[in-house]
């Protein structure tokens, strides 16, 4: 691309074309400035102030918000919970997504049906499905505990209201939400693997399905897997809906996660400066993940 630019310097572009280019990008440029660039910049500034909505005046306080974050036990819990959540949801939803993709692609019967079934949670209203999960996991009237009692578990867990179980329960819902999405990405990766490779592997003696998987599918799917992994981590580090609907971070902060803490500090307690500092921590995590993702993409290009 840079070569093309050099060969035809911008100065020599016809005036009409240059004008059209500017004119056509102008609306997007304005919206970008007003809705994304300026507010993002303002968030960065805000993080270094003690601004509270409704309070008169504010001061620059340097890194005080970040110092407070470092000492805030609540924030530490929130960060830890987020990491545990991502650590559970990403690998398990990827393993299940890959399993579903392999199983579906391994035959012809039921392809469309099962693809639709696994994908359904992706297009379902998260808040409504959270309500369905709340019923399913309800300690006394929930079907899950009814089954557990029937098979002899005397006091089944309070899935969403016990601090031991709540994060696991939310993670299970997160896995359920992400599985189909990952499956679709893996299916795209699987169709890109040339069929001849499987035939070649079979000629070379890889008769069993497992051999073919470890010889052909897995190595060639490696870059896709890395890519799906970072995407799922970016998606799940944003967990908010299920927490806001089901637990509000409780009980006793056991399900407090990064974005929910940010939401609570900013829009409930109106401590905008502090909330902006949390937002920047969140942004930093996302940026690290995106950086990992570009690494993964680079590798995918080499293999592709």
């Amino acid at each position: 691309m840079s070569e093309a630019v050099l060969a035809r310097p911008i100065a020599r572009a016809p005036v009409g074309e240059a004008l059209a280019g500017l004119l056509l990008s102008l609306p997007a440029g304005l919206a970008f400035l007003l809705m994304l660039a300026l507010p993002t910049f303002a968030t960065i500034l805000l993080a270094f102030t003690d601004y509270e909505l409704g309070m008169p005046g504010w001061n620059w306080i340097g890194f005080e918000n970040f110092v407070e974050l470092a000492e805030d036990r609540g924030f530490a819990v929130s960060l830890r919970n987020t990491i545990i959540y991502v650590g559970l949801v990403a690998p398990i939803s990827i393993a299940l997504g890959l399993g579903a993709a392999l199983l579906i692609e391994a035959g012809i019967r039921g392809r469309a049906l099962f693809r639709a079934v696994f994908f359904l949670p992706v297009v379902s209203l998260t808040v409504a499905m959270a309500a369905a999960w709340q019923y399913l996991l309800h300690p006394t009237i929930g079907p899950l505990n009814a089954v557990l009692r029937q098979i002899g578990v005397e006091s089944p867990p309070f899935w969403l209201s016990s601090s031991d179980w709540v994060l696991l329960s939310l993670s299970a819902i997160g896995i359920w939400e992400n599985l189909g999405y990952n499956m679709v990405l893996f299916m795209a990766g699987l169709t890109a693997i040339p069929r001849e490779l499987y035939q070649a592997a079979e000629v070379d003696g890889a008769k069993a399905g497992l051999d073919r998987f470890s010889l052909v599918t897995w190595p060639l799917l490696g870059p896709t897997t890395l890519f799906v992994l970072t995407i799922t981590m970016i998606r799940s580090v944003r967990v908010f809906d299920t927490v806001a609907v089901l637990t509000q971070g409780g009980p006793n902060r056991a399900s407090e996660v990064l974005l929910y803490t940010m939401y609570k500090e900013g829009f409930t307690f109106l401590r905008l400066g502090y909330s902006a500092a949390i937002t920047l921590v969140f942004l930093a995590i996302v940026l690290v993940l995106v950086w990992l993702q570009t690494k993964a993409l680079d590798r995918r290009v080499h293999y592709g």
């Binding site: 035809r8 911008i10 572009a13 240059a18 059209a20 280019g21 500017l22 004119l23 990008s25 609306p27 440029g29 919206a31 970008f32 994304l36 660039a37 507010p39 993002t40 303002a42 968030t43 805000l46 909505l53 399993g99 199983l103 391994a106 019967r109 039921g110 079934v117 696994f118 994908f119 992706v122 297009v123 209203l125 998260t126 808040v127 409504a128 499905m129 309500a131 369905a132 999960w133 019923y135 399913l136 009237i141 929930g142 189909g180 679709v184 990405l185 795209a188 995407i231 970016i234 998606r235 908010f240 806001a244 609907v245 940010m262 939401y263 902006a276 937002t279 969140f282 996302v286 995106v290």
Partner: protein, 280 residues
């Protein structure tokens, strides 16, 4: 994968059994949601494991939802917000994507750099200042507050730029030789060619914003402008209390539109999400 030809049903059985097991697990919340939405409340509270209600109570449950909350209002708000967002996203991103792909103009490389930069920023980051601005302007509880922050999608610009770059340059050159103006080219040549990318992006956008809770929760209070996601949340905390039968009915109603759309256009949905997959 290694599906060479049709296997006998018997050989296919283990695969189908595994898929059915996993599929059933995924469908569990839907199955119980539907079941509870048709049961009278006392049956729900008995926690019986029979899926079909002894006394069929669906009519009562669903009409309780319709009489207690403005269901159509919520759905309408959802449609207005999703359509408004998508309209502006396409209106801004298609021309910008074309300009970045095919036109030479000063500042183009900087503009594209900004797009790439914008891709890195999740929508939660500009939320605080936008909230302050909207509340100063008195725009809270309006459609404008729900729509405006998402009118710019750098992801859409990126997607359309990549898509238009793959279109042959001759298409544009030929139109210029025919004496078309630059804007006429966008309208008559580029737009008709943008459909595949536009469809994929539209599905991605509608799914994202129909389901969004974070931003509506921040800028909306009360029922008048509540989106479906907020509607379920309100119903859950206010009206329903422990009325799980009606709550499940409400959940079914609000989930249905997008799920039906998905079932009718499955391939497009899956492709749309897969091609837009790089956006987390």
């Amino acid at each position: 994968m290694a599906a060479s030809g049709r296997r006998s049903l018997l050989a296919d059985l283990p695969r189908l059994a595994l898929l059915a097991l996993l599929g059933l697990a995924v469908l569990m919340p839907y199955i119980w949601m539907l079941s509870a939405s048709m049961k009278p409340l006392d049956e729900v509270f008995r926690a019986s494991l029979s899926l079909w209600p002894q006394n069929f109570h669906a009519v009562e449950n669903y009409s309780r939802v319709f009489s207690q909350v403005p269901v159509f209002g919520y759905l309408w708000n959802g449609v207005v917000v999703c359509a408004g967002i998508l309209f502006f996203q396409l209106l801004f991103a298609v021309p910008a994507g074309y300009a970045l792909a095919k036109l030479r103009f000063p500042g183009r490389d900087v503009a594209f750099g900004l797009v790439m930069f914008g891709l890195l920023v999740p929508p939660h980051v500009p939320a605080l200042p936008l909230y302050v601005a909207f509340s100063q302007l008195g725009w809270l509880n309006t459609y404008a507050a729900l729509i405006l922050p998402f009118t710019i999608s750098v992801f859409a610009i990126f997607l359309f730029r990549q898509f238009f770059k793959a279109l042959p340059d001759d298409l544009v050159h030929a139109a210029r030789l025919d004496g078309m103006g630059e804007l006429e080219i966008v309208w008559r040549i580029i737009l008709p060619n943008a459909w595949p990318a536009a469809t994929a992006f539209s599905i991605f956008s509608v799914v994202a914003h129909w389901n969004d809770l974070f931003w509506p929760l921040i800028v909306i209070e009360g029922q008048a402008r509540a989106t479906p996601a907020l509607g379920v949340l309100y119903f859950r905390s206010d009206e329903a209390g422990d009325d799980f039968a009606a709550l499940m009915a409400a959940a079914v109603i609000m989930t249905l539109p997008l799920v039906l759309a998905f079932l009718f256009a499955q391939r497009r949905f899956v492709e749309g999400i897969a091609t837009t997959g790089l956006k987390g």
